[in-house]
């Protein structure tokens, strides 16, 4: 068995990797894929919350979602995950720091761009 001081030394030096880890950001592609996977999983047990309720809860919608949200249609039509058909999702899942800039688009917000 190693002595306690050697165990302590190893514990301390392994903890030094903490400092490096705290600087790391998850790749934007990974965030996009995780988000899509979560939504896919949520949809297996029923529809998502409709966009009107989402907006009422204080969340901003992207321009495409807004168009759906103001459309004179029933609330059930506002529950699908419209991002499945959106280029922003497709780009975000495949390209790191994808060139998507739509306001309030989650896939755009996952990008690790420096705030100016």
């Amino acid at each position: 068995m190693p002595n306690d001081s050697r165990n302590d030394q190893l514990r301390i030096i392994f903890l030094q990797t903490e400092d490096l880890a705290s600087e790391e950001k998850a790749p934007s592609r990974l965030k996009a894929r995780v988000y899509s996977a979560l939504i896919r999983e949520q949809q297996t047990t029923g529809p998502l919350q409709d966009l009107s309720a989402t907006q009422a809860a204080g969340h901003s919608l992207c321009v495409f979602e807004q168009l759906v949200q103001i459309a004179p249609v029933g609330e059930a039509v506002k529950t699908p995950f419209f991002c499945w058909a959106c280029h922003a999702r497709a780009l975000a899942e495949r390209i790191e720091n994808a060139p998507i800039y739509w306001p309030h688009c989650p896939y755009a917000e996952f990008q690790n761009r420096r705030k100016t």
Binding site: Q9, L10, I13, A21, Q49, A53
Partner: protein
């Protein structure tokens, strides 16, 4: 000590925000789900990456698995701990599942002679004073070790699990884990000494 606990947020404030976020996610609010990812992806990614290096190829899958497990368990979140701490618990379980699997599947390098395996002069790790340098050096040394050694060292020294706990979790005998750790420490020490300064 834990990276996920580094943000200095008032615990009470954090918990009430957490409860609202959880309630919104459980209602399948897509924007709340996006906020969940934005809020925790960096922390979970760092946590996992640090514990499975150098196997960077498994990080993405593990992170996704942790988020999905969190979604499945979210209804049980009661706000007793911050969401961050709760999430960290899930991450820890998943990482330990990974360790367990790897120790089962990986080859345990076999030494010809274990006698005096750790009697060679151990490096004086504390002589290194630059923390960043130390962290980088640990990473580069770990990257050269057989996977079973890396997993054993992480489990013992980063997760702070005892030999008995590792043996129980991995389904091995304590003696086998002790031998593995002794070899892992010896290999680590040798490479540490040889590593570029």
């Amino acid at each position: 000590m834990e990276p996920l606990a580094q943000t200095s947020v008032q615990p009470a404030q954090s918990t009430s925000n957490d409860l609202k976020l959880v309630a919104d996610i459980l209602r399948k609010d897509r924007k709340a789900t996006a906020e969940f990812v934005t809020r925790y992806a960096d922390s979970i990614y760092s946590y996992v990456r640090r514990r499975v290096m150098p196997r960077s190829d498994v990080v993405d899958d593990l992170v996704q698995e942790i988020f999905l497990a969190a979604w499945q368990g979210l209804a049980n979140y009661r706000g007793d701990a911050t969401l961050r701490q709760w999430f960290l618990g899930i991450a820890r379980h998943k990482v330990e599942d990974y360790y367990r699997k790897r120790l089962h599947e990986a080859d345990w390098p076999d030494g010809d002679d274990d006698s005096g395996i750790e009697s060679a002069a151990a490096p004086f790790y504390e002589e290194e004073f630059d923390r960043r340098f130390l962290g980088e050096k640990v990473r580069s040394v770990i990257a050269t070790l057989p996977e079973a050694y890396a997993v054993a060292l992480f489990w013992r020294y980063l997760e702070d699990r005892s030999v008995r706990e590792i043996a129980q979790l991995a389904g091995k005998t304590e003696k086998a884990v002790e031998r593995l750790l002794a070899r892992a420490r010896a290999a680590f020490a040798r490479r540490w000494d040889r590593a570029e300064r």
